[in-house]
């Protein structure tokens, strides 16, 4: 798998994704330049979260590759992890820790020099600075979501992967979020997000995952035969070999 588009930074090609034993999407491709926002659309189960997890390197595509500057992300996952911030469905807010303490761990894992200042900045951007000393258990779900969003502002990075960032947010917070995303893009960051409400982000490219849905039956009919991933390796060798052993044995028998 070679990444052809060398002027773009973040690309994916020929992606097929399987969750459990179900085919989610096939032959998906995307590309993003610095400053781009990629909006993922699609029905429930179309694979928005799965694609974001592939992009984060959490799971591995069945076929195809995702590249950062022409380098397959799976070849150097630690470097990829250092350049991305991921927001999942869950907020990862511990009920017994204060908002500040919750964020402090992520600051220390990203080796942020002045972590208190970075946390203050992030909390301020999301309008929850006044909650800094509140325990997680007293937060409303929208406040928890904003705490989780504050996390992605801590530390330098080039790529945001946001899975339904607007869940639980009110209209004002959504506007805050859109502004934060545009700030990040202005600094050259790439944002990939999935959402089911309108987020007022300037000129996003949109990827409609429904276009890449392939009925599982069609996919099975392509004679993949439940084989996982190595048909590129020795397709010709396989067909040749598949015949010979049977022949040999029947000859002896």
């Amino acid at each position: 798998m070679v990444c052809v588009a060398w002027m773009t930074v973040f690309t994916g090609s020929d992606l097929t994704c399987r969750r459990g034993e179900r085919l989610v999407f096939a032959d998906l491709a995307f590309e993003a330049h610095p400053g781009d926002a990629l909006m993922l659309r699609g029905r429930n189960g179309a694979g928005k979260s799965s694609l974001l997890r592939l992009m984060a390197g959490l799971s591995e595509p069945l076929t195809g590759s995702i590249c950062w500057k022409n380098q397959n992300i799976r070849h150097d996952l630690p470097a990829h992890r250092a350049r991305l911030q991921y927001l999942g469905h869950q907020d990862a807010v511990k009920p017994v820790l204060t908002v500040r303490d919750n964020l402090r761990l992520w600051a220390s894992l990203r080796d942020v020099d002045n972590s208190d200042a970075a946390i203050d900045y992030a909390l301020n951007a999301l309008g929850i600075l006044h909650l800094a000393k509140t325990s997680g258990r007293f937060l409303s779900s929208g406040q928890k979501r904003r705490t989780a969003l504050a996390r992605i502002l801590i530390g330098e990075c080039d790529l945001w992967l946001l899975d339904e960032p607007t869940v639980g947010l009110d209209r004002e917070s959504c506007a805050d979020l859109a502004r934060i995303i545009d700030d990040f893009r202005a600094r050259g960051g790439i944002v990939v997000y999935s959402t089911h409400i309108d987020l007022d982000v300037g000129s996003p490219r949109s990827v409609d995952l429904d276009e890449f849905a392939m009925p599982m039956f069609d996919w099975l009919a392509q004679d993949h035969d439940f084989d996982d991933g190595d048909e590129n390796d020795d397709e010709t060798g396989t067909t040749a070999k598949s015949r010979s052993p049977a022949h040999d044995f029947s000859g002896i028998a």
């Binding site: 179900r22 659309r41 429930n44 035969d225 439940f226 084989d227 028998a253």
Partner: protein, 258 residues
Amino acid sequence: MHRFAKPSVFLKLASAVMPWAIGITVLTLAVGLYLALVVSPADYQQGDTVRIMYIHVPAAWMGLFCYVGMAICGAMSLIWKHPLADIAARATAPIGATFTALCLITGSLWGEPMWGTWWVWDARLTSMLILLFLYLGYMALVNAFDDPERGSKAGSALALVGVINVPIVKFSVDWWNTLHQPASVARMGGPSIDPSMLWPLFLIAVGFTGYYVIVLILRVRLELNERRIRALQLSGIGEDSPGNAQPAYNPEQAGAGK
């Protein structure tokens, strides 16, 4: 390495191997049992009970052999993501557990006339008992997940941890108690038991291995067919299931599509 990975290739190969495996198994077991039960001499101390050994010892070998095989399959599945390795590891576990249990049961039957008790906490029997626990743990883990693939992967990791642990357990149990007669077949400087006893042992071990191959092939086939059925169910033939792209009203899409 990946040549046999394709299930279709495996199935072809398996049906080619199958008659041979059956033939070898039946032949070696028949000859081995005849030699063991009729031809070989009774022990001058233990009498005819020594013949339990011809089942007991090969079963113990197979118990260990299957565990190592399972760990190798586990390593193949974790390192090369080999799809059949998972299935093979899963399919091996119950066979290995059965051989281990067989070894324990025959050991107990043999112990009664020899030591006058059904169970002794002897080092080798205890090791086999722990091996049985490891098998049971593996099988429990593999079946505890809703997604069978996730279960297999967790099981593979456990099998690898277990295989590192088996020698340590063996060593510590040996340290803990040694009551059993010293190992007598695989000893340095050649086997110490009579060839008339060694041959049936060897033949039955080969027969057990053949049996293992047969059951393994059957179980892998079964698993492949089950996967096929599940995939066909998911593909939603004849009904509209979530796996099928049905044009339907979708409020989410309507909202996002502005």
